[in-house]
């Protein structure tokens, strides 16, 4: 403020001392005229005007400032109320971070762990976005002014302008903004109390909207968080899979990277338990219990009962439990030293047999003192049990040394130290290597989560369900219920038939036509008529006409029983339904029955089977599901739908069944992963260069998804020798050497697979086990149902909330227009 009164007036004031008869009234009148020569100081508070980018930068800065203020407060004890209030927000964020960290640490998958943090972040983002999008924005549109303005207070604190309904800074808006808003509010900006009304409408609108915000935030924030979380989770999972796959591939790309990776791995999780055990037996005689416990702690001896050779120390892990104990005892003899005092006591008391002579009968006597001393001298200082054994053999009768070895007191420190060293230097590395190997392979072929393998199956189920239209809530509810897989089967059948009828009527008609032609022409066995009829009807590209001899083979293979043509096509619907019923139920024999039903019904020969196979399965279903055989995921879908359930089972299922039958405790998921990874590694190293691209693909399909015969069939290769070669290449025991070191049972499994394959000639017979499509659909439907149920409950809430926030806006900010436009007159002056 600069000017108070004019210099002239000031002079006049100064010249008018008390008591002088000055013209004070004139001074007063002049002062009134000049009243507005002064203006109030500009407000120290400033309105914050930021665009969204600046707001984001500010938010980061503000959080940093909050953190800084917090540490300053801890250090100095100084903090103002506003900063203290903001610390609450910071505390919430820090708390959320801690909770997320805790949950992430206990998460089963990486996606789950990452989602803990994304969930936390989304929660705070939702908390911020809800009022912005559904309260502040509509309010601004309806009322013409922002209710979420912020200002920097005179003390430098950033606050919401309407944070406190009773503390609303004034004088911080520009005249232009005020006039614009007043006009929108229907206030004449030039009326005397315009500002008062403008402030009140703003205040009331802001108060009502902030109340609305507080009332709705409790619902809106978790709803928005969940919606965003649902949307983001699959993308996170995909990113995790891709990242893991890429990383694993890099490490698996050559031996150097793989060895470097293994070199870092060590698993000493049993170290504490080992120390506890050893401490418990310090200065105690080691009994059988000790050795059993030690074997348990070391986790050796249970890997394989087939590996019985004890080569050296490092082979302990190949021992079965009894052998382990035996080996440990041997090590004790090598390492533990004999207590001489105790040995002398034992030797002095020992009875040795004496031979009978002419005068004496055979009997026993004490060991001569001289001999005792000789034994002790020969044993020497710090002699081991092993040495004692060899010394005693020279003085005692056979077997007598065992009692002394078993009972003499020993110093076991060296033995314990040897165990420790073994655990640290050998076992920990082996176990670490196994764990590391699995960590590496899981992103590729892990069967539980977050691998390329599981993603393919998940995508496939999604595609099947969507194609079949199994997404209706009521259908999902039925499928999810008890016995729902039966329902799934029914719905599936119905949908497939509907699809066939709807989309492939032309084809069905064509197929019927084919059957009709074949039936009629087969009777007169005139192949040329049949060829001509087929050509007329289907064109020259019809499969049976493309290659020479195809049609002949087709006719040749028709069995005589097929003469009864009336049964060739009873009802399209009937047999299709039967087919799907058969391969939908969870029964290992069902696929076979399905095959019979489908292809071997009365009157249909092997040739018909081939035709039906080719046409009915590949073409009909292929057309329905828009299958492109070059697409990997779609290929899986083809497999699953066309035969996956009854022909194309997986190596994983085989292994699980096989190993279970063998009564072992082996974690077969490890074996599967290792076999697949071993294959990928060798493929990368070019060890399969002798094979064609198709053959390598067949190997891959076989390992990951199915049987050797199906893998070959899919590629149009039926040569049994090729199959044999492929099988031998994949399961060559010599290339599983390093895996064998990590998990010895692999060698056994490989051998068994080969033997079994030779015995049966094909894998088909042993790979018939798989989850039925109906079961898989049930699982899928349950997940989808739960998601939809959640949406059905909360989506209306979300819609209602949004609707409420929008509908109520026009009712906000109204004030009764009782303001006196003119001054009230009257009064007792």
């Amino acid at each position: 403020m600069t000017l108070i009164v004019s210099p002239l007036l000031k002079n006049q004031i100064n010249n008018n001392g008390r008591g002088k008869k000055a013209n004070h009234e004139k001074v007063y009148e002049d002062l009134k005229k000049h009243a507005n020569d002064v203006k109030p100081n500009e407000a120290k508070a400033k309105l914050v005007k930021e665009n969204p980018i600046q707001q984001t930068i500010s938010a980061v800065k503000d959080n940093y400032k909050d953190g800084k203020n917090f540490f300053t407060a801890v250090k100095t004890g100084k903090m103002n109320d506003n900063s203290l209030g903001r610390i609450n927000d910071l505390g919430m964020k820090a708390g959320a971070l801690l909770i997320a960290s805790f949950l992430a640490a206990h998460a089963k998958t990486k996606t789950e762990a990452i989602m803990q943090f994304i969930g936390g972040t989304t929660f705070f983002a939702s908390m911020a976005l809800w009022p912005k999008l559904f309260i502040n924005l509509p309010a601004r549109i309806v009322h013409g002014f922002p209710i979420d303005e912020k200002y920097i207070s005179a003390q430098g604190d950033k606050k919401d302008l309407y944070l406190d309904n009773q503390f609303i800074p004034t004088g911080i808006h520009s005249e232009k903004q005020k006039r614009r808003e007043m006009k929108r509010m229907g206030i004449n900006p030039d009326e005397p109390n315009a500002e008062e009304k403008w402030l009140e409408i703003r205040r009331k609108t802001a108060l009502q909207n902030r109340t609305l915000w507080m009332a709705t935030a409790g619902f809106a924030t978790p709803l928005m968080t969940a919606l965003v979380g649902n949307y983001v989770q699959p993308k996170v999972e995909n990113a995790v899979i891709e990242h893991g796959f890429k990383k694993a591939n890099e490490i698996l790309s050559n031996d150097d990277t793989l060895n470097a990776y293994f070199a870092k791995q060590q698993d000493l999780s049993n170290a504490k338990a080992l120390e506890k055990l050893l401490a418990g037996y310090k200065d105690r005689q080691l009994d059988d219990n000790f050795y059993k416990e030690l074997a348990d702690v070391l986790e050796v001896g249970d890997f394989s009962e087939r590996m019985k050779d004890v080569d050296d120390w490092k082979s302990l892990n190949k021992l079965k439990s009894d052998d382990v104990i035996k080996a440990l005892k041997t090590v004790k003899e090598q390492k533990s030293t004999v207590d001489i005092t105790d040995l002398r006591r034992i030797l002095n008391n020992i009875e040795i047999p004496t031979a009978g002579g002419f005068f004496n009968q055979a009997g026993s006597s004490k060991l001569p003192q001289e001999t005792v001393e000789q034994i002790i001298n020969n044993l020497g200082e710090n002699g081991t049990l092993e040495k004692l054994r060899s010394v005693l053999k020279n003085y005692l009768s056979e077997g007598q040394e065992n009692d002394i070895i078993a009972s003499v007191k020993t110093n076991d420190e060296n033995f314990f130290e040897a165990i420790r060293t073994y655990n640290k230097d050998v076992l920990s590395k082996i176990k670490g290597r196994i764990k590391a190997y699995l960590d590496l392979l899981n992103p590729i072929a892990g069967s539980k989560a977050e691998s390329v393998y599981t993603r393919h199956y998940s995508n496939m189920m999604d595609k099947i369900a969507k194609t079949l239209g199994i997404t209706k809530y009521k259908d999902l509810k039925k499928i999810k219920a008890k016995g729902g897989n039966k329902k799934a089967q029914e719905i599936m059948q119905k949908q497939i038939l509907a699809l066939i009828e709807k989309e492939d009527k032309d084809y069905i008609d064509g197929f019927n036509k084919f059957v009709e032609i074949t039936q009629s022409r087969l009777q007169d066995r005139d192949i040329n008529k049949l060829r001509a009829a087929l050509k007329d009807t289907f064109g020259e590209n019809f499969p049976l006409l493309k290659n020479e001899g195809e049609l002949e083979n087709f006719i040749y293979n028709i069995k005589p029983a097929a003469n009864d043509s009336t049964k060739l096509l009873p009802e399209n619907k009937t047999w299709l339904m039967q087919i799907f019923e058969d391969f939908s139920i969870n029964d290992s024999s069902a696929p076979k029955r399905a095959s019979i039903n489908l292809f071997n019904f009365e009157g249909i020969s092997g040739v018909q089977k081939e035709a039906a196979d080719k046409l009915a399965q590949e073409e009909i279903l292929g057309k329905i599901f828009k299958i492109n055989s070059s697409n990997g995921v779609d290929q899986l879908l083809t497999d699953e739908l066309m035969g996956g359930s009854f022909k194309n089972s997986h190596i994983y299922n085989f292994l699980s069944r096989f190993i279970k039958n063998k009564n072992t405790d082996i974690d077969y998921s490890r074996a599967k992963a290792m076999i697949c990874a071993n294959f990928e590694l060798r493929a990368k190293q070019g060890l399969f260069d002798a094979f064609t691209k198709e053959e390598i693909e067949a190997m891959r399909n076989f390992l990951y998804n199915g049987t050797i015969s199906d893998a070959l069939n899919n590629l149009g290769m039926s040569n049994k020798d090729i199959g044999q070669n492929i099988r031998d290449a994949v399961f060559d025991p010599s290339v599983f050497k390093s895996e064998g070191k990590a998990i010895p049972e692999i060698n056994s499994i490989i051998g068994s697979i080969k033997n079994l394959a030779h015995k049966t000639g094909d894998f088909t017979e042993i790979t018939l086990q798989a989850n039925s499509l109906a079961d898989q659909l049930k699982n899928y439907a349950t997940r989808l149902y739960n998601n939809k149920t959640w949406m059905r409950i909360f989506a209306p809430m979300a819609i209602a909330l949004v609707a409420v926030t929008l509908v109520v806006q026009p009712f906000f900010g109204n004030i009764k227009n009782e303001f006196p436009e003119e001054e009230k007159s009257g009064g007792n002056k």
Binding site: M1, R18, A22, L31, K39, P40, F167, I172, N193, K816
Partner: protein, 629 residues
């Protein structure tokens, strides 16, 4: 005798004197060592000064005239200069209770009991003067509104008529010694002879008021009248043209005060055209004050009127009396008011437009648990003074009529502590509300009682518990701790250059000649200590230094080490203030520091020989209020 302080209320109940015997201060007997002085290079000092914004005393003096001592004969008001030079020592009084005679001991004036009035108040002036006060803040003296009233007598801040004096504070039977003068004044005012001492004759009231002020002036006490910020409900009914209404057309009620209505300073707030009836009312109010002999006005809720308004009124008052003083009830810069229907608070613009002094934030001093908070506030105000470019001051508003009795916070020791502290702070005119000087708890037994007899429409004895009663005719303020008064007297004597004269019996003698200048104009130097509860600073001028060292903890003694740049090894520490409470000990470490043990709420002042203290101190710790004469 109890050595440790006990609850003040309990102490009062038990009639226990809390002052323990004073122990002699032990002095260290170490050999003199060369003090470890920190001397800042001139270059560094300039740089720090430029950055810190603290400005050492400048020779160039801008504004005001020196305050000269005044006598009654040819009396001339100089309150404005006193305020600006930090020389006013103010007592806030309520005439209707100031010398009330509560004979039955129920603390409410009823029946034949005589309430305080303008005449019996004169009887307390010698006592007030003797304590060292030189200015009275006379709380509103106007007739009170009777509708929606608070209390049985009506709030003194709820005026029925701003231009009249409350007949209830008129003495219809004044002592003979005053009667003649009242008649003379009455004649001066009206040109008529006084025939009846009728309390309902407004001119009789004015005559008595003028007499009271004359008696103040006789004792060289200045009188400042409290201008209420709002009108009573009855006033509002009679003067709708003056009243503010909200956006819904309803009269604005300041939150928490249902008995009053806000005035409307603007006719058109948009164009900032002032509301003439309100302006005229205040012009007449100034006329009345000058006519009655008041030396200044304390503007209640200064923020309630805008700068344009005060620009007219304050300058008008100066046209009539250039030394007419203005004290604004304004606290600290607020972007808005937390009180409903109240505008924002901006002390600086009120000071810039003409107010000489303001309230500030010392009323929340008890919330400042660390010495730095006090220093920061001192710095903030000195910076504001220097930014304005004119001397402006604060009052020591440690406890006003709007605050709870400081006795409730820390008892008599705390009151003594804050009394000594405010007497030593820069830019401060010490202030107390009547009763504080003897330790009134303001706990009235009739608090919210319903009584039959009332002068208003309210039968409830409204009281803001713990605060001086402004709603009822209550007893004379005062407590049972006369030692407080003694402390105030001693502290004020230092400010008045009358220390040795006032404290003849004391063993401690003051050597410096002009302690007043050191306190009112000297620099303020923060003395760092290792205990945040120890408040330690020096006041320094022309080579003379006074030290303040105190413990702001009301619960226990504290100890610590204080750095005093330039402290001589042979310096003794003789406390100039009366001893109270627990003993304090001081040991000169002979290395430029002193180790202290301070009793609960103890405050001490020392004169030390340390001419270099200002130069040797870290410039960041040195603050100087500029533009003083």
């Amino acid at each position: 005798m109890i050595n440790r302080p006990i609850s003040p209320i309990l102490a009062q109940t038990l009639r226990i004197n809390q002052i323990p015997p004073q122990m002699p201060v032990k002095q260290a007997a170490r050999e003199i060592e060369v003090p470890n002085r920190i001397i800042y290079s001139p270059l560094l000092k300039d740089m720090i000064l430029a950055q810190s914004g603290h400005i050492l005393k400048e020779k160039k003096i801008v504004s005001i005239s020196k305050t000269a001592p005044q006598g009654l004969e040819g009396y001339k008001n100089n309150l404005k200069s006193m305020f600006l030079n930090n020389e006013a020592q103010i007592l806030g009084v309520i005439i209707r209770t100031m010398n009330a005679q509560d004979t039955d001991g129920n603390e409410l004036i009823q029946g034949d009991e005589k309430s305080g009035n303008l005449i019996n108040a004169i009887d307390r002036l010698d006592e007030i003067k003797n304590t060292g006060f030189n200015t009275l803040h006379i709380l509103p003296i106007h007739p009170t509104g009777k509708t929606n009233a608070m209390g049985t007598a009506g709030s003194i801040y709820s005026p029925l008529d701003f231009l009249k004096i409350d007949p209830e504070i008129v003495d219809e039977n004044p002592p003979e010694k005053y009667r003649k003068r009242i008649e003379e004044i009455y004649f001066e005012l009206t040109g008529k002879k006084l025939t009846k001492m009728d309390k309902n004759d407004p001119d009789v009231a004015k005559a008595q008021c003028k007499l009271f002020i004359e008696e103040c002036h006789k004792r060289n006490i200045k009188a400042m009248l409290d201008l209420p910020s709002c009108g009573s409900v009855d006033f509002a009914k009679n003067h709708p043209e003056m009243m503010a209404v909200d956006a819904k057309g309803k009269e604005k009620v300041p939150q928490g005060w249902q008995d009053i209505r806000m005035l409307k300073p603007f006719k058109n707030e948009k164009t900032r055209e002032l509301n003439e009836p309100v302006l005229d009312l205040h012009k007449k109010y100034v006329d009345m004050c000058v006519e009655l002999g008041f030396d200044g006005i304390r503007a209640d809720v200064g923020r309630a009127k805008p700068v344009e308004f005060w620009n007219v009124i304050i300058n008008y008052s100066h046209a009539k009396d250039p030394q007419f003083a203005w004290l604004a009830e304004t606290y600290t810069h607020e972007d808005a008011s937390p009180q409903l229907n109240m505008p924002y608070d901006r002390p600086q613009e009120l000071l810039e437009v003409g107010f000489d002094s303001y309230y500030g934030q010392y009323h929340i001093f008890n919330e400042w648990t660390k010495a730095n908070q006090l220093y920061d506030y001192v710095k903030e105000n000195i910076n504001m003074n220097n930014a304005i470019g004119k001397p402006k001051s604060l009052i020591g508003s440690f406890a006003t009529h709007d605050d709870s009795s400081p006795m409730l916070y820390g008892g008599a020791p705390w009151v003594m502590f804050t009394s000594i502290l405010q007497s030593m702070l820069p830019q401060i005119n010490p202030y107390m509300i009547d009763g504080t000087q003897t330790g009134d708890f303001y706990m009235y037994p009739y608090d919210h009682a319903i009584v039959r007899d009332t002068e208003t429409d309210n039968h409830e004895c409204t009281v803001h518990t713990g605060r001086i009663d402004i709603f009822n005719k209550s007893r004379k303020p005062g407590g049972k701790f006369p030692e407080i008064e003694n402390v105030i007297k001693t502290a004020f004597s230092l400010r008045d250059n009358k220390y040795n004269e006032t404290n003849k019996n004391s063993n401690v003698k003051l050597n410096m000649q002009n302690a007043k200048d050191v306190i009112t104009k000297g620099s303020f130097i923060v003395l760092p200590s290792n205990n945040p509860e120890i408040i330690s600073f020096a006041r320094h001028k022309d080579g003379k230094t006074l030290l303040f060292i105190g413990n702001r903890n009301v619960n226990r003694p504290v100890g610590g080490k204080i750095t005093i740049p330039g402290l001589k090894a042979e310096q003794k520490f003789n406390n100039l203030m009366p001893k109270y409470g627990e003993e304090c000990k001081f040991q000169n470490n002979k290395d430029g520091s002193v180790t202290v043990e301070l009793g609960t709420s103890r405050a001490c002042i020392f004169e030390i020989d340390d001419a270099e203290i200002e130069k040797l101190s870290n410039p960041k710790n040195v603050m100087q209020q500029k533009y003083l004469n």
